[in-house]
């Protein structure tokens, strides 16, 4: 399951998508909109994606994961459009026979997503707005 959506993300959907009877672990990750960033108060975020390229890049990340760990299924969903504070911008679920593979693969997936998947975020503050890239993202 690899999707770009303009609808709210339902984490349960990803968990169901990766559930396998052979899997003893499902690791999940949710990225959510935070109110404070670099000392400024965020009103909301706007996400934009190059969908036709983003989905293949998500699949590549899944292929990389399969080359590194024994996992069963991988699901990645990224939301686009306007997001309010507390809403999920990205969700990842990985199922595996054992927890260590699932957790490691899930962490790898979000790190790689931020490097290779063409999705952009604009922060809208009380006094301005800016497209945010890794260079200006201290926690990226």
């Amino acid at each position: 399951m690899f999707e770009i959506t303009d609808q709210p993300i339902c984490p349960e959907t990803l968990v169901t998508a990766v559930s396998r009877s052979s899997s003893g672990a499902i690791a999940t990750f949710l990225g959510v909109v935070r109110e404070q960033t670099r000392g400024r108060r965020v009103l909301h975020l706007e996400y934009e994606a190059y969908g036709e390229m983003a989905i293949p890049k998500m699949r590549e990340i899944a292929d990389e994961i399969r080359g590194k760990w024994e996992v069963a299924e991988i699901a990645i969903v990224h939301r686009v459009g306007r997001l309010e504070i507390g809403e999920a911008s990205v969700a990842i679920a990985v199922s595996a026979p054992h927890r260590h593979q699932a957790l490691a693969a899930c962490a790898y997936a979000i790190d790689r997503l931020k490097e290779t998947v063409p999705v952009w975020k604009k922060e809208v503050w009380t006094d301005g707005e800016e497209w945010v890239g890794p260079a200006s993202c201290e926690h990226a």
Binding site: R34, K114, V119, A135, C137
Partner: protein, 84 residues
């Protein structure tokens, strides 16, 4: 030859459109395309150090030769996910 150039995020706002159709001499490279676009939209220089390019939905180096109908994209630094 004609190539289609998709523009995203900060690049889209500078260009003022999500897409450009650019006419280029046969055998032109990505760098030559970018040069031409920058001539039209000098503010793109603000992104130049960090701007990545893709051809047909795959990241590509500036020396890449273009063909007619290629889909190029101007890709400012990506920032998907969340600051976590």
């Amino acid at each position: 030859m004609r190539v289609r150039v998709r523009c995203f995020a900060a690049a889209r706002e500078i260009v003022g459109a999500g897409e450009l159709i650019v006419e280029l001499p046969e055998g032109s490279t990505l760098n030559q395309l970018l040069e031409q676009i920058r001539g039209r939209f000098p503010k793109l220089d603000r992104l130049s150090g960090s701007l990545l390019l893709s051809v047909n939905r795959e990241y590509a180096p500036g020396e890449r030769k273009l063909a007619a109908e290629d889909e190029v994209a101007l890709i400012p630094p990506v920032s998907g996910g969340a600051d976590v």
